[in-house]
Each structure stands twice: as structure tokens, then as C-alpha cells.
Symmetry: C2
Subunit: 295 residues, 2 copies
């Protein structure tokens, strides 16, 4: 698909919301005028927090673009958010009294895919706080995973953290061999027993768990339990990639905070197909808004 | 340990809080005067809800005992709650402006164990919404599991439900073989795709997941995936039981909503040691309050 939006005066906003952060970009002609970054914007974990983060991100982007806040009312926004494949959440987001002239909402996967392949067909896997895969090839769409913390999201940052904690607690109960992973968690939380680990994790959000991921990945070179966790996560990402590649997408990219650190753990046939993402998810959200206007 | 509390005039309250319900009993002499039942009371999932449920349960018990609500101010309460092995939660519960003359708080495991063995030494495994094990033998205490939904609680109702949903979603993504379990979840939630399952479970509490458990147990006789889940859960409970039995407790019981349905899945050496619980966790809470007064 070639973008043919030609009105270089029109201001566009692209927003990428996620479990840990929200990014916004202001774009006109073929230039990024400003960018803004704020906190988590995952409607599954709080719709008001999502709106607050989106508002902060676009206001920061306006300041960065040296535009008055009132200019937002002239913008056309594309928004990519986790969870809006669920109808009830999509409706709640669309009912938002947004500050834009128009707003188009789709999944964060969709905008990430459009961004990575600069508006063209392709497939992406996102591994950050959560994990999921998406492909758009011709008239085919494929969505895999992205079911959220606790229901799937294997290989994601939150999953790596949660598995590490669960396996360490099993060992500390004497029901599995104790390895370095327990000490790693003690050090991280500055505690000395299982209760200390539980106290630091009980009831916490997926992004809180995801902070443990890079320590689990580091430990995986030496520690058998951490190695098993990362291998299982990578195996899921391999399965997901092969499923997406069965649609023969012209391009395939992996994005998100865990894409690079997980890469060495993936299978050769998957790594061979990887191409760098051309543009960001928030620019994908801009392309999405432009596509919707042209349709 | 023999109970020697002899003041037959003193009113005692025993409260057992849990992930799905809260039970209260009013006791004096050696008679139960009244009982009350209310909603979930797990401080890990909401401290205010816990206080509300406890208040409702004791008020209902007072009505059932034909006592005026004011009589509660004369009672001495024993309270068993999940999560109060975590210091911050125990402090929050103890800071509650409770309606009793005195209140003693301990874990739900501790009161369940005291109740099951009528004040004597022993070991218990509780498998309901969550799972955990506890033993008190001489001067030794052993606590296993009970880390909460997402961090452990294998073999529990919530874990069975969560595993079933996760495995079904994996199959519906084409990443595992699809079995009857998918249809079972479709029927249960009255939906027809993965999104419908996610929409019904995302962000829900452990007790919501636990409602799926009995369907998973039923399916486990015929369905390979359900069978693997239940076998893994039972294997964890076996490990936990053997760990507790290594302390040579004079009695060993399993209690909670899943104790009976899980029993056929346990190993023979574990089943052989099982004895029926003599009394309820809420009566255990009464014994606990009496023991604390005598100490």
C-alpha cells in the first residue's frame, strides 16, 4: 500500500500506548514536528490512566513542536492501544472526550505493524511488557497471542519476571532445587526470604514484573532454571513467528524492549527472516489515521 | 495441646476469611450460638472488602445467635486471613477499628490447622481458590505455598481455571492441538472465539478463575490437555503433602472446596495418610483466640 495523503498543512497525531509507556508524535507534510512521552496507557489495566497518559503525551508533543495546546483541536489522531480488540474496551476508548478534531483507534499491534513496514504489508512480533504477533498480508490479517498477563504473553517481560518469581518461590519452599535465581531476587528486592519476594510482587502490575526480565535474561547464561524459563519463552516466540511467516509476509520485524535481548535465544530459521523495523509504532498510528481518511 | 479455657460465659467469635467467602461463628461454653456467611475476605485483593465482609459475617452470626449487634463489643475474636503472613497486611488488619472487645489475627492456614485437629498438632493442605500447606508439630511450624494467584497456588481452583484458559488460548492461536477444552470454555462463557474468553477473564479475580475448576476436573477424565493440567496440579499437592508429612504430624487433613474432587488424583502414599478434619477453620479461629488468652 502506498500512502498518498498529500495535504501537507494537515496536522496528524500518532499515539502508541502500552503497558509501560505512552508515546505521541505530531506530524505534518513528511516531518515530525514534536514528540511526547508519558506513563502507561493500557486500557486493560485502567481506562482513566490511559486517557491521562494520552493527554500528557500529546500535550508534551505540542510543547516540543512549539504549538499551543489549542492546536490539538485541529489535529487528526491515530491511536494504537493494547486491548482494544476487546469490544467493550474499544467502545470505552472511542467514547473518550478527546481533544482532537478526529480520532481513529486500532490495536497497538496494527499500528506497530504499519509503522515497522512504513505502511506496507508485513508481520511483527512485539515483545515488551507483553507479547503478541500480527500480520497483514493482502486481505489477510492474523493476530496471535496478546491475551494479557496471566492468560498468555509468554516470552514477554512480565512473563519472564513472573516465571522467575514462581520458580524461585517453589525452590524456597523446598519443592525444587535452589539456584542462583533465588539470590538474584533477594538482591533485587533487598529481602532475604520468600515472604519478601511475595510482599514485593503480590497484586502488582505486569510492568512491575517486567522489570525483572533483564535480570532473568542475564542469569540465563549460567543458571539452569533461568535458562529453562528463557528457552520456553523463546520457543513460544519461535512458534508465533513461524505461524506469522506461513502467510509469506514481504517483511518481518520484532519490536519492543525485549526484541533485541531475546534475539540470541531464537531459532536460526526465525532470525534469518528478521528485518529491522523502518518506523516507530507511533508513526504507524499516523499512517493509520491517514489511511482511514483516504478510505 | 489441650484447651483449658473454662469461662463458659465469655462470647468468642471465630472468623475464617478467604478468596471467595468469609465465615463467622459465635461460640460460648462449648456451644456454637450462631453462624454467618458473607463475601470474599482476602486482604491481598482488597483490605476494605475484607473488613466489609468480616463485618457482614459477624453481624449475620449475631442475628443467627439472636444477640443484639451491641453484644459484639463483649466478644473476643480470633481471625484467620489469607496474606497476613505479609507484615504490611497484618499491620493493616490489626489497625482495623473492629467491633470486638479484643481481636487476635493469624493466617487462615494456622486457624484451619487448629480447627482440623481440634487444637492439637497436625498438618493441613487447603485447596480452594488458592492452595497452601501448613504444619504445626511440637515447636516446629512449616508453611508451604500460599504465595497467591500468579506466583504459585498450583493445584488450586484459580490455577486450574487459569491454566485451562491459557492452554485453550494457545490452541485457538494454532500453537497447540485444539481439544474439547476449548469448546468447554466457549460453552461456559457463551462465546465462540478466543477474544470472548479473554474478554470474560481479563483483569478478573482469582475467585472468578476458580469457578472454572470443576469443569476442568470433569473434563480431565477424557481430555488430554485438561488431564495434564490436573495431573500437574495434583503432583504439586503430592510434593507439598510429602514435605509436610516429613515432620511426622500426628494428623494430616485436606480441606477447602477442591480437597474432595482432587483426592482421586493424588498419590496413594498421600491418600493413605489423610484423616478427616475434625472441626472448621472458623472454630479453629475460636480455639486460636482462646489459646492467645491463655498464653
Amino acid at each position: 500500500m502506498t500512502l498518498t495523503y498529500t495535504n501537507s498543512e494537515q496536522l496528524f497525531i500518532g499515539i502508541d500506548g502500552g503497558g509501560s509507556k505512552c508515546k505521541a508524535v505530531i506530524y505534518a507534510g513528511n516531518k515530525i514536528l514534536g514528540e511526547g512521552l508519558s506513563g502507561r496507557a493500557n486500557p486493560l489495566h485502567g481506562i482513566q490512566q490511559t486517557f491521562t497518559s494520552m493527554t500528557q503525551a500529546v500535550q508534551l508533543a505540542a510543547v516540543n513542536a512549539e504549538l499551543p495546546t489549542e492546536a490539538l483541536s485541529q489535529t487528526i489522531a491515530g491511536v494504537g492501544l493494547a486491548g482494544v480488540n476487546l469490544n467493550k474496551l474499544k467502545q470505552q476508548v472511542e467514547a473518550w472526550q478527546h481533544p482532537f478534531a478526529q480520532m481513529f483507534v486500532t490495536t497497538d499491534l496494527h499500528t506497530a505493524c504499519i509503522g515497522a513496514h512504513q505502511g506496507g504489508d508485513g508481520a511483527v512480533i512485539i515483545t515488551g511488557t507483553g507479547s503478541c504477533g500480527y500480520a497483514h498480508v493482502g486481505d489477510k490479517n492474523l493476530l496471535i497471542g496478546g491475551h494479557g498477563f496471566g492468560l498468555g504473553d509468554k516470552g514477554s517481560g512480565a512473563w519472564l519476571g513472573q516465571q522467575a518469581a514462581a520458580k524461585a518461590l517453589l525452590a524456597l519452599d523446598g519443592l525444587a532445587a535452589e539456584t542462583e535465581l533465588c539470590q538474584l531476587l533477594f538482591d533485587y528486592f533487598e529481602v532475604s526470604d520468600a515472604m519478601g519476594i511475595v510482599e514485593n510482587l503480590a497484586g502488582e502490575t505486569s510492568s512491575h514484573y517486567a522489570k525483572l526480565a533483564r535480570y532473568v535474561l542475564q542469569a540465563a547464561n549460567d543458571d539452569e532454571v533461568a535458562n529453562n524459563i528463557v528457552t520456553e519463552g523463546a520457543s513460544y516466540i519461535n512458534d508465533m513467528a513461524r505461524q506469522l511467516l506461513s502467510l509469506n509476509p514481504p517483511r518481518f520485524s520484532m519490536i519492543g524492549g525485549l526484541a533485541e535481548p531475546l534475539k540470541p535465544w531464537l531459532a536460526d530459521d526465525v532470525i534469518k527472516q528478521l528485518k529491522p523495523a523502518i518506523n516507530s509504532p507511533e508513526m504507524g498510528a499516523v499512517y493509520y489515521a491517514q489511511q482511514q481518511l483516504l478510505n
